[in-house]
């Protein structure tokens, strides 16, 4: 079962060196314990571009799809047998990256 951990933040500052060290160590552990699928940090919301090609012509919009006080600053995709394990990992993830983390299951099957 895979879960998406979205890192939620209300400023556009990047992780501090201390936070980066903690995140790296946590990532090593995720890999060693078989939870790791993928992870990455994202550029600021202002660097986003939205494309809508459902109509006749593609429409390109500068900026994120929704303006909000909080945004997704990065993410993990992790493998866990159930939500309890995922929540435990997310609890650690939030501490290490010093931000809120949303846990969401991928649709299975």
């Amino acid at each position: 079962m895979q879960y998406l951990f979205s890192v939620i933040h209300d400023r556009t500052d990047l992780a501090t060196p201390e936070e980066m060290t903690a995140i790296d160590a946590f990532n090593d552990r995720l890999q060693a314990e078989g939870h790791w699928v993928f992870a990455g940090g994202l550029g600021a919301p202002a660097t986003a571009t939205v494309i809508d090609n459902r109509g006749a012509e593609p429409v390109v919009t500068d900026g994120p799809y929704v303006e909000s006080k909080e945004h997704i600053a990065g993410f993990w995709i992790i493998e866990a047998p159930d939500l309890d394990v995922a929540l435990k990992l997310a609890t650690e993830a939030s501490r290490h990256c010093n931000r809120k983390v949303e846990v969401r299951p991928f649709v299975s099957e």
């Binding site: 079962m1 047998p81 159930d82 939500l83 309890d84 929540l87 846990v103 969401r104 299951p105 299975s108």
Partner: protein, 408 residues
């Protein structure tokens, strides 16, 4: 006929959670388990009058519910679902009794009270899947339309499935936190029964207090060594014991010191006191519910209100403040302090809580009472007004209104 009816009622009370729990274990699906259990009980209502009550109603219900669940899964899995078929062929229903901690019902309770579910969803799921209350009963208990309650339960079950909330008893290191989550759900159910809110209900919902006590007894039977479970059960019993004296004939709340103590339920008090003594004897530092139970035991121990050992109560509140520094605990402590050190000292403590408890009726009611005792009628009247405005319970409003109108 009446005997059969009683047998069905008894089986429902004793076996519902067990049937739902064992089917959830077997089929891995709360929805299937709930529906099949409901159908099995409906079948019992239909067939027991003619065929007689089976020797082992629980086994009969489990077998019947299992058949219903298999029927449903066969209907739904016309497509080749290998996993489902495998489950149907492999009957791993345990026939030997399980140890206390392995009881299937515990898994069910921990799943229903999972911290990833909203509190209102936990309450609804627990009452439905563990308590066996109908959707109509739960909707009525919480004053929401049946459709809303139905959606709440459906959404919660969907999340359990999609996010894979596990069906198991938490690991030992997580157990205390998870048990306290379960107790919080039961305490909320009890409190809603004890001080029902909303203009459409009676001031006390005995059905809810009884259900909360029944479920807490069940947890107590499953986790007999847990001090907080014992504490919550004692707290509920000692509170429930006073119910007959708590609302007057004309629907007014009767405060503790005016209650007819002869009307208190002595059997419940004896049981509550036994639990409190058992916890004291354990020598283990008490948690929140055990301290609250002990405070209630001091009250129920006093034959007359004037015999109440207030210094003991204040000492217990001091202990509670150490565990739970919330303003509501501080308010209740101040009420006890008023009896020991007088209303002036208490009012000074209460006034310090104003910015945090300004929206809480009990804060204003407490101030009103203290101001009245100090002869400051004008201020007391304004405080009663604020309390009446915020009080959700009909008996409490009636009491506060009379007190206000009696001010000189």
């Amino acid at each position: 006929m009446t005997d059969v009816h009683e047998a069905v009622t008894r089986a429902h009370r004793d076996e519902w959670a067990r049937v739902v729990a064992s089917l959830t274990r077997r089929f891995g699906d709360l929805d299937v388990a709930e529906e099949a259990a409901a159908e099995a009980f409906a079948t019992a209502v239909e067939r027991w009058p003619a065929e007689g009550v089976p020797a082992n109603p629980g086994a009969w219900l489990t077998v019947t519910a299992n058949r219903r669940a298999i029927d449903r899964i066969r209907r739904e899995s016309k497509r080749d679902d290998k996993q489902m078929q495998a489950r149907l062929m492999h009957d791993d229903t345990p026939h030997e009794p399980l140890g206390a901690i392995d009881d299937e019902r515990l898994r069910l309770i921990f799943t229903c009270c999972h911290p990833a579910l909203a509190m209102e969803a936990r309450i609804a799921l627990t009452l439905r899947l563990v308590g066996g209350l109908s959707m109509v009963e739960i909707a009525r208990a919480f004053l929401v339309p049946e459709a809303t309650m139905g959606q709440r339960i459906t959404r919660a079950k969907a999340k359990i499935k999609a996010a894979r909330i596990p069906y198991r008893v938490p690991a030992a290191e997580d157990l205390p936190a998870r048990v306290s989550g379960v107790l919080a759900v039961l305490f909320l159910v009890f409190n809603e029964g004890y001080l029902a809110t909303g203009p459409g209900t009676g001031p006390v919902r005995a059905d809810l207090t009884a259900e909360a006590i029944r479920l807490t007894r069940l947890i107590r039977a499953l986790l007999p060594a847990d001090g907080e479970v014992a504490g919550l059960l004692a707290l509920m019993l000692l509170t429930e014991a006073r119910r007959p004296a708590r609302v007057s004939r004309n629907g007014e709340l009767v405060p503790l010191h005016e209650q007819d103590r002869g009307a208190w339920d002595r059997a419940l008090i004896a049981e509550g006191h036994r639990l409190v003594r058992e916890r004291l004897a354990s020598g283990v530092a008490p948690g929140r519910y055990q301290i609250l139970a002990a405070i209630n035991a001091v009250h129920t121990f006093a034959r007359e209100a004037r015999d109440t050992d207030w210094s003991q109560i204040v000492a217990l509140y001091d202990q509670l403040v150490g565990l739970d520094p919330s303003p509501v605990v501080a308010l209740n402590r101040a009420i006890a302090v008023a009896e020991l050190d007088g209303p002036e000292v208490a009012l000074a403590a209460v006034d310090r809580l104003g910015d945090r408890l300004g929206g809480y009726h009990a804060y204003h009611a407490t101030r009103a009472e203290l101001l009245r005792r100090m002869g400051r009628s004008g201020e007391a009247g304004a405080a009663y007004d604020a309390a009446i405005e915020l009080a959700g319970n009909t008996a409490e409003s009636a009491y506060l209104t009379r007190r206000r109108d009696q001010l000189g």
